[in-house]
């Protein structure tokens, strides 16, 4: 436990301390870490947080419940819809509001699309960090743009969707939208094949990624690692299956698991997860029922957000965001604003083991290990 604490001020004259960030092209934003090196080998690493600490919790505690929704978009800004999902789910738990079936299906469809967007962007960035400068990212972003176009058509915004509401969703999917999604879903595997042909068995990628940044299943569980990083270590834990929230228990999908828990496994688990997400999307699109998209009870809340006062109590809701378990802890005191609002951010907690994964590796590997954890600073620092 002690090795994570203080960087040992060794007497060795050979140790070199390097500062990464907060302005560094491969720290995915304003992440900062100080790395201690012996030659090229890492012997100590200390992350420093807070460069994007924008007081999400403080601001949310001064806002009505409905007005927090657009702020959750800005937590993990690569996939705003998953954050919306988690928040809506928590408030529904807190106030005991049920969601119509069609709205649940729409939620699942949108959240899975967001997962695809996230994973494809992450893989692109990780390869960017590996040195495949910009080419895979260009392909990844080409596909991402198509999905974002759809998001814009449905939700009104490319990134900050603000689409889910407590008790439903904002806008119904038209037949045209569904056809658009179906088109993307049916065309995506071809892109993935091409992407994989380019990457999966590439010798350079294998050499750089295999046996790098190994994380054992036991450490991962103890350190609270979730999401693809945990599953790459071989732990079968996916909240979509475990909790079966929303309508996820109606779909048939597998949970891809890694074996070693190295960077390559994390990369490959993400690709497999995209395939599973496409499977869910296929099933959801074919079985989406007609009906309401908003609970009648919460309709007045949309028009007068200030009048929505959940009963005194607390709720902890969690969803499987593409980064891991995204949890919301909300305490209501019966007023329009929450008394306490806390976000359990997967990107932050997944960084607990960063040092352990990096110790003994080369300095260039630290970058890809960080890239493979998949952090978004908006969520890490909030």
């Amino acid at each position: 436990m002690t090795n994570i604490v203080e960087i040992k001020n060794t007497d060795l004259a050979q140790t070199l301390e390097i500062n990464f960030g907060p302005q560094h092209p491969s720290t995915h934003g304003v992440f900062r870490m100080t790395v201690q090196l012996e030659g090229e080998k890492i012997c100590g690493l200390r992350p420093i947080f807070g460069y994007l600490h924008r007081n999400h919790e403080q601001i949310a505690e001064n806002l009505p419940y409905a007005a927090i929704m657009p702020y959750t978009d800005r937590l993990d800004y690569v996939n705003a819809l998953s954050n919306n999902f988690g928040y809506a789910l928590t408030i529904e738990k807190l106030a005991g509001i049920e969601v119509p079936e069609r709205a649940e299906y729409i939620r699942v469809i949108m959240a899975e699309l967001a997962r695809v967007v996230n994973h494809i962007a992450v893989i692109g960035f990780m390869l960017n960090d590996l040195g495949a400068f910009f080419t895979p990212l260009l392909y990844a972003f080409r596909e991402r743009e198509r999905i974002l176009n759809l998001f814009e058509e449905i939700t009104g915004s490319r990134l900050m969707n603000n689409y889910f509401r407590v008790g439903g969703v904002k806008r119904d999917l038209t037949g045209e939208n569904l056809a658009g999604i179906q088109k993307i879903v049916s065309r995506f595997p071809a892109f993935l094949e091409e992407f994989e042909a380019l990457l999966t068995k590439n010798e350079i990628l294998c050499m750089r990624c295999q046996n790098i940044g190994v994380l054992s299943a036991k450490t991962a569980t103890n350190a609270g690692i979730t999401g693809p990083v945990l599953r790459a270590s071989g732990v079968n834990y996916d909240i979509r299956k475990v909790d079966g929230y929303s309508v996820y228990n109606r779909f048939d999908f597998k949970i891809p698991l890694g074996e070693k828990g190295d960077v390559y496994d994390r990369f490959y688990v993400r690709i497999l997860e995209i395939r599973e997400s496409l499977k869910i999307l296929d099933q959801a699109l074919s079985t989406i029922p007609p009906g309401e998209i908003m609970n009648k009870k919460s309709l007045p809340m949309l028009k007068m957000p200030r009048n929505f006062k959940p009963p005194v109590g607390e709720a902890y809701g969690r969803v499987e965001s593409p980064k891991g378990e995204l949890g919301f802890y909300v305490v209501s005191d019966g007023t329009p604003q929450p008394w306490r609002y806390h976000v359990r951010a997967p990107s932050l907690i997944n960084l607990t083991v960063l040092e352990e994964m990096c110790l003994g590796q080369k300095i260039a590997d630290a970058i890809i290990i960080l890239g493979s954890i998949d952090i978004v600073l908006g969520e890490t620092d909030r």
Partner: protein
């Protein structure tokens, strides 16, 4: 799959008779914060619950006391959650750290310390997580006085003047009157607030 709180409470009480527990809604309140690590260790290792995964640690300010809330899940049995909470006074906000039991508490306890000033005893790295070390106060407590960023204070004036930057006279005077009154420029409620 949910775990019933009563069941957990009964199990803890039979195995750890010295620990005083109380049910607060769906959660278990540990009356004496010192008991927290042994309860957590018991829950982690008891074959019946196997709560091997600490999902969330957070603080909360209830004006008269501070609270530290823990959400535990079981990855092995895919069950949960069990909510534990401990309460401490604001003057003596000391809670034993859970890092030796669950490493996932490491960054989250630092965050709770940063925002609420709950001191986790035995934490391997007890620093602020987000804010810098010189920062004073705990910003998520309900009585935190946030600075007014449009009014310069005496320290700002001194800083600017040593660097040869001209400061308008009215700003200087305002800073001086504030300093004479021994006040900080704190964000206050407006004179005529909107409904």
């Amino acid at each position: 799959m949910n775990i019933s709180v009563e069941e957990v409470k009964k199990e803890i009480e039979t195995h750890l008779p010295n620990v005083k527990l109380r049910l607060v809604r769906d959660s278990i309140l540990i009356e004496n914060p010192e008991d927290l690590p042994q309860v957590a260790l018991f829950l982690k290792e008891s074959p019946r619950f196997l709560l091997d995964y600490l999902s969330s640690v957070t603080g909360a300010d209830y004006l008269t006391f501070l609270e530290s809330v823990y959400h535990l899940y079981s990855m092995a049995q895919k069950r949960g959650p069990v909510t534990l909470r401990v309460r401490v006074t604001k003057n003596n906000a000391k809670v034993p750290s859970l890092v030796p039991v669950y490493r996932s508490a490491e960054l989250q306890e630092r965050e709770a310390y940063d925002t609420f000033g709950i001191i986790y005893e035995g934490h391997p790295d007890p620093r602020r997580l987000f804010m810098w070390e010189e920062f004073q106060g705990y910003p998520l407590r309900k009585d935190y006085a946030q600075e007014d960023t449009e009014v310069l204070e005496i320290a700002d004036i001194a800083w600017l003047e040593t660097r040869g930057i001209e400061v308008p006279v009215e700003m200087k005077e305002k800073a001086k009157t504030l300093h004479a009154a021994g006040q900080r420029a704190v964000a206050q409620k407006p004179e005529k607030p909107r409904p």
